[in-house]
Every structure is written in structure tokens, then in C-alpha cells.
Subunit: 218 residues, 2 copies
DNA sequence: TCACGATGTATCGACTCGATACGTCGTGAC
DNA sequence: GTCACGACGTATCGAGTCGATACATCGTGA
């Protein structure tokens, strides 16, 4: 799923690795944080498969012996030769990459709503059509409800022999998941309303409020 | 941290791998789920370091050639020779293991409140003394507050160029962490009250209510 | 009788993280 | 002036982890 995130970000603008990682971790907020040990191999793989390409703008290396020991002395070549710091490697989507991204963003199978994928898919909902959005949200909701059920049942079978702290940990975990389900409910409702409003009456373009109208649901 | 969880569970009773994993995943609830690919190497390492030992009760292998190809034919040796299914490998804490576990449970350094350790430490709070519990809860709280601050600041610097869904994802992530902080607040309060009550007045043993009195703080 | 699922031990490949290395550049303390 | 420090920037390594899988036993029920 890192790959999808990379493609999604590069779809807006070409970026180099460092910036890519910053935006990635901003995008996913407090959910996940990818490290360079994950990012660079993924970039390499994407290049190898022709989905992205490197465009070495602002590279100070003249030609040949690119990453050699490059003797000191290039320091005096004036400051800011183009505009950036140093030879960064800027990545850009290829035509294949764009196509692949569209395919992925249009998919709404089980893979889209598993733990490790959902937040990335959600982050690019703006590039996903409404039907797919709803299907993914509903799939995610079902997935969480199932898990809730499994944990509850499993806990019911072994309740008596757990100490208070373990119990509290379980209670808190369940509560977090329940809250997540309610969050999804709000999003689904908003999406449905939007879809209906758009279909039924699209002349009065006033109530086009975005998806976070579900703030004050205690 | 898997190791601490294993030692903590084996401190109550000797267990075999399969049962250990079940309890592990019940213990950590919806937080984490360790797989066998993690569990068995960890067990092996613990045995090698002398913190746990195997006691092969209920083993059908007679002697020698223990894990050899064991020809079919042992099937007719009567059902339920002892009580269990098959030769399981039961693990048990050694004296060194008990000592090590006590040392770990008494520690309250930064390692105790990081993401990957906190829930395991919390799950064994019943075996941890009150002072350590409070220190870990407060450390965890500080950690989360710092992260909250960092994400908020980082988001403030780049707010304008994010679409509604990304924004909503961030908002939701922040809210989850805020809720976690409030949960910790409730636990810390409860722990402080308990410590005070125990010190000031320990004759009226009626109000010894456990730690989940913070349910209806919404 | 025999397929299936629960129980049980064990490993492999792929992925990810955190630490680290190496290097450039701007800034501010002294 | 210089030089330490931190931001920027690319890259890899070891350790830990997951999911899938393999293999084997046993009870149950079609």
C-alpha cells in the first residue's frame, strides 16, 4: 500500500524522496509513519516496473562518474546553481503509472478495507468516485463489526479469569473500535446524502458541504 | 516486548505454544496479534537464554529418535493416553526467568511507554506496584501529548493545500489520540486515589473499587 | 469412511522499522 | 572567521514481524 500512496502523491506533483516521506507521514497523520528503509526500496521497485521515472533536475553532477568520490572543490562554483540544495532525485509518474493508479483507486475489493490499506485509500478519496467510496466505507464497517463480534465472543468465554487491568485494556480497545464504527457511519451517511443531493437536485448548489459534518455526534 | 508478554503469561501457569498465542491475542485484544513466526523464535531465544524451560508432558514419543519420521501405527495405542491431544511442548519459567520478569515489571523508563510496549506493560499492571504504574501512565500521557503537539504544528504549516478527506483523516486521528489522553487521565486519577486511600485510611476496606470507574466521562 | 475443522509445532519469504552512514548547505554562537 | 549544529537528502543493514504454508493428530458428523 505504500506504493499506492506514492503513486497518489506523485499524481499531484513530481517529488523527491525526502519530500515524499514528509508528505506521506503528514498525509497519514498519527496512523502510520513509513521510514526510508521502506520508501527507497519501494521507489526502486516502482522505477523497475516502469510506473514512475526519475528526472534528475538540479543535479550538480556534470556527467559520467556520477556518484564517485567527487573531489572537494565544487564548493566554489557559486551558490544556488539552480535553486535547490543539491542533486535530488525527483520522481514522476509515467503513463503506465497513471493508468495503474486509476485502476487501483477504482478497485473496492476486500483488500481496500483491511487495516493496512484503508487509511491510504481514504486519504485519496478525493480522487475516487463516490460509489467506490461508499463501497469501501461499508466494507470497512463490516470488517470492524466482525472483529468486534469475535473479540466480544472470545472475551465472553474467558471472562472470569482476567484481572481488572486486562479487562480495562479490552474494554478500552473495544470502545476505540466502536467509535471507529460510528465515525464510519457518519461518513457513509454524508456520502449517501451527497450522492442523493447531487442526483435529485443539482441546481441549488448551496449545501455542498464536505464530509466532516459529523462532528458533534457524541 | 513479546518476550515480556510470554514471561508474564508463563508466570501464572506453564503453557504450550498454541495456548500461549491464544492467550496473548486475547490479552492484547484488538491491539496487536502475534503470529507463530514471531512466537516460536521468541520461545527458542528465551529457552536458549535460560529464562524458560520445556517440560515435555504428555509426549507420545517413547525415547530416542524423537522427531523422526515416526511410522504410522501409533494410532491404535488407545485414545487419550494421558489427557491431551498430542505431545505438546509445555514451557515454564525458570528461576532466572522469574527474576528477569520482576526486573522488567519494576522498570519504568521511556521504553515502557512507547507504542510497541505500553499495552503489554499495561496488561501486567496487576503484577506491577502502584508507583511504577503511575510513572508509566504519566510517561505515556506525556508521550502522546508531545505527538499531538507535533502533528498539530505540522498540520498548521501546511493546512491550506489538503483536500477534505485528508483533513478528515487527520482530524479523526487527532481525536483518537485525544481520547487516549483522556483515558489515561482517568486511570491516573484512579491510581492516585487508590494510593491515597490506601495510605491514609486502610481500615474501612469497602471502597476498593477497581480501575474502571472512568466509564461515563464523555 | 472420510472430509473437515480444531489443535499443535514449525519455517519461509516479504515487508517494515529504527539506527546508522555519508554528504551538502545555511545559520548562529563564539 | 570558523566551526558546530541542525535541516536537508540518499541509501543500506540488522532485527523483528506477519501471513502463508507445511505437516501431523484427533474428534465429529454427513
Amino acid at each position: 500500500m505504500l506504493e499506492t500512496a506514492i503513486l497518489g502523491l506523485l499524481n499531484s506533483a513530481p517529488l523527491h524522496g525526502y519530500e515524499l516521506r514528509k508528505r506521506l507521514n503528514l498525509l497519514l497523520g498519527s496512523f502510520r509513519a513509513f521510514s526510508y528503509g521502506t520508501l527507497y526500496p519501494a521507489l526502486k521497485s516502482l522505477v523497475a516496473r516502469g510506473l514512475i521515472e526519475t528526472t534528475e533536475r538540479e543535479a550538480p553532477a556534470p556527467a559520467g562518474r556520477a556518484s564517485g568520490t567527487r573531489q572537494a572543490g565544487a564548493k566554489s562554483s557559486g551558490k544556488a546553481p539552480l535553486s535547490g540544495r543539491r542533486g535530488r532525485i525527483v520522481y514522476r509518474l509515467t503513463a503506465d503509472g497513471k493508468e495503474h493508479l486509476q485502476t487501483v483507486l477504482a478497485s473496492s475489493g476486500p483488500a481496500a478495507w483491511e487495516d493496512e490499506n484503508f487509511d491510504v485509500r481514504f486519504a485519496f478519496f478525493a480522487q475516487t468516485d463516490a460509489e467506490t467510496r461508499i463501497r469501501i466505507l461499508e466494507g470497512r464497517r463490516t470488517r470492524l463489526t466482525e472483529r468486534l463480534e469475535a473479540v466480544r465472543e472470545s472475551a465472553a468465554r474467558t471472562r472470569e479469569r482476567l484481572d481488572e487491568y486486562t479487562l480495562e485494556l479490552q474494554r478500552h480497545g473495544l470502545e476505540q473500535v466502536e467509535r471507529e464504527v460510528r465515525w464510519l457511519d457518519g461518513l457513509i451517511t454524508t456520502e449517501r446524502d451527497r450522492a442523493l443531493g447531487r442526483a435529485r437536485d443539482h441546481s441549488a448548489g448551496a449545501q455542498d458541504a464536505p464530509a466532516q459534518r459529523n462532528k458533534e455526534r457524541g
